[in-house]
């Protein structure tokens, strides 16, 4: 049983990071029909930006700030202006393919300009264990979990309690009507891209100390976030959060109880089962059936 609790905490911590990435993913989908196949690489890149700043001699805290700012600039504004805006009118599929190409380009760029090897990355949470109710829990897991939950709560509050959040939701649900009632749709879409960039930068900051900074680390992450978004509900932010946490826990339990070889298969089977029996996702709104 004690083992199970550790696994749950570790799973929730990873799951919370997946949730951050998955939330950004669903936000982009909702506001601009962008299926971002480079989302995993979006998580990979900020760690390298921060490492680059640190190599230039800056302290860690400054690297974090600059890294997040650069992410907002490149992965938020740049991504929207240079790739999504020119492609959007062509429909969902060409844009999705373009993001696949972007993923390849980003991986190669990091490999070429930085390193093909995995680099260690400092943790913002000090290493060590704390004892809670007589149980020893890794401080890192707890810190990650706490931070991710804080961000998710903040984001949910932004979306549900503020005027900007309501405008963003209106944009996501029906851009035409939103525009008619005076919502600055363009600005709201840009804002979702910036939020996504912020979320991936944060996820990068949290997950890289655990898995090291490597050019190819986005592949696994992107797929986990993708599965989390579908399992939870592609069209709901809370669905993506639930999906992320669930996938994190399932993944960790599978590694312990199924087999390390097939741990990656368990979330995929979960995905197929969900699509069979609840295609809109656990918390998603049902979409109309096909003909």
């Amino acid at each position: 049983m004690s083992n199970l609790l550790d696994l749950l905490v570790a799973g929730l911590a990873t799951g919370a990071i997946y949730a951050l990435v998955a939330v950004g993913f669903t936000l982009l989908w909702q506001t601009s029909q962008t299926i971002n196949f480079a989302q995993g690489e979006f998580v990979m890149l900020p760690a390298f930006l921060m490492l680059a700043v640190m190599h230039a001699g800056a302290p860690f805290w400054l690297a974090i700030i600059l890294g997040i700012l650069l992410s907002l600039l490149l992965l938020g504004l740049g991504f929207k202006l240079l790739l999504v805006d020119p492609m959007l009118r062509h429909g969902v599929l060409p844009l999705a393919i373009a993001t696949m190409a972007l993923a390849i380009g980003m991986k190669e760029a990091v490999k070429q300009f930085f390193s093909a090897e995995a680099s260690p990355f400092p943790s913002i949470v000090p290493a060590g264990d704390v004892s809670i109710l007589g149980r020893v829990v890794s401080l890192q897991s707890l810190g990650v979990l706490a931070l991710a939950i804080a961000v998710v709560i903040g984001l949910t509050a932004l979306l549900n309690r503020t005027s900007i959040g309501h405008q963003m939701q209106a944009t996501a649900q029906n851009p035409t009507v939103a525009r008619i009632i005076g919502v600055p749709v363009e600005r709201m879409i840009l804002l979702t891209f910036l939020i996504n960039a912020f979320l991936v930068a944060l996820a990068s900051l949290l997950i890289t100390p655990i898995y090291l900074a490597k050019f190819s680390s986005g592949e696994v992450l992107g797929q986990a976030a993708f599965i989390a978004a579908i399992v939870g509900g592609f069209n709901q932010v809370r669905g993506a959060i639930a999906g992320g946490l669930l996938i994190g826990v399932v993944d960790n339990l599978a590694a312990a109880y199924v087999s390390t070889q097939y741990r990656a298969a368990v979330p995929l089977i979960l995905l197929i089962v969900i699509i069979l029996f609840r295609p809109q996702g656990l918390l998603g709104r049902p979409e109309e059936r096909t003909v």
């Binding site: 062509h90 696949m100 797929q223 699509i275």
Partner: protein, 332 residues
């Protein structure tokens, strides 16, 4: 289309085929390997083009089907069975798996096929990697023999290239026939307007499944050629990125165009070779080129050509109309 245009096309086709046969004759081993790879990838991309371009379904598992075909060929031919038997097994297996995968996915929204195939792609990779008793896991299967075709050994690179090219020819002819058959027309009908296709009495779900299953089977065909081409296979080439690469080939070439996969595979296989002088930068340049192309023309390279031809046709037609009109006006 005028008669001269038709003859011009036939002449162009004959010239390209002749060039594909004659030019590689004095290529070195590596050049022939790349060209054979192009032929194999074109077959896989043609299958995906049927699924995506003609039936309008996104499949992210074409690479997995290539893998299934490759493992079928590798396992069976190293046991001494003929490649033809492996081909039959690969086709039946991929068709059946395609059908089973597509059935639940297409019950709901169309884009769920993309999700299900994405999951399947990774599952297939895990099976290739972990089922050592069948696939020898990460060590891979080596010494895959090349077949004897009609009494000719294809061990050397040039005969094997002709074998790949011949297979590509046969698949192309079959595909040409298929998309002009009532089935092919039904595929296009359900891409263009599924509701209307249904109202015309087309069983849309069955035809969509059929397109996906046939496309998957072609992935298997490509796989059975891939294994004797490389003569060694391990799980790595058949991961998700192969499926994404194949998808890019179809889109870049021009999905829904018959010759799209030929061009797309050419760009994906040959362009990195041409860009090799840029050393580590070639994949980056490739990615940038793909993005720029898609921004300029989301329907791919053949889309550009198609647009140009359509414009010219409209201009020619309006010129003819102007002439006819002026004749009418000047007529007594």
């Amino acid at each position: 289309m005028t008669a001269t245009g038709k003859y011009l096309r036939i002449a162009l086709g004959v010239a390209v085929i002749a060039a594909l046969i004659i030019v590689p004759m004095n290529f070195n081993r590596y050049g022939l390997y790349i060209l054979s790879q192009w032929a194999v990838m074109t077959i896989a991309a043609m299958g995906l083009n049927l699924t995506l371009g003609y039936a309008g379904q996104v499949s992210l598992a074409q690479g997995a089907f290539v893998g299934i075909g490759a493992y079928a060929a590798a396992i069976m031919t190293t046991q001494g069975m003929p490649l033809v038997a492996a081909l039959a097994v690969a086709i039946v297996l991929c068709f059946a798996i395609g059908w089973i995968l597509g059935y639940p996915a297409l019950r709901v929204q169309h884009h769920y096929l993309a999700f299900v195939t994405l999951a399947f792609s990774t599952l297939a990779f895990l099976i290739f990697r972990n089922e050592d008793w069948l696939t020898k896991g990460i060590y891979g299967i080596s010494n895959i023999p090349r077949p004897n075709v009609l009494g000719f050994a294809t061990n050397r690179p040039l005969p094997f290239y002709y074998f790949c090219l011949g297979s590509l020819g046969i698949v192309s002819l079959a595909m040409w026939w298929l998309i002009r058959s009532p089935w092919g027309r039904a595929f296009v009908a359900l891409r263009e307007n599924p509701v209307r296709a249904l109202s015309l009495g087309i069983d849309t779900r069955r035809y969509t499944l059929m397109a996906f299953a046939i496309g998957s089977a072609l992935g298997g065909v490509a796989g059975t050629l891939y294994a004797p081409l490389t003569q060694y296979i391990d799980p790595v080439p058949f991961n998700l990125s192969l499926s994404l690469d194949l998808l890019m080939m179809v889109i870049v070439g021009g999905s829904g165009f018959f010759f799209g996969p030929f061009l797309g595979a050419m760009i994906a296989v040959l362009l990195p070779e041409w860009l090799r002088f840029t050393q580590g930068y070639y994949l980056m340049l490739y990615a940038v080129a793909v993005i720029l192309l898609l921004i300029y023309s989301p329907t791919g390279i053949l889309g550009i050509l198609d647009r140009y031809l359509a414009e010219r046709r409209t201009k020619a037609a309006s010129a003819l109309r102007a002439v006819a009109k002026s004749r009418l006006e000047t007529a007594p």
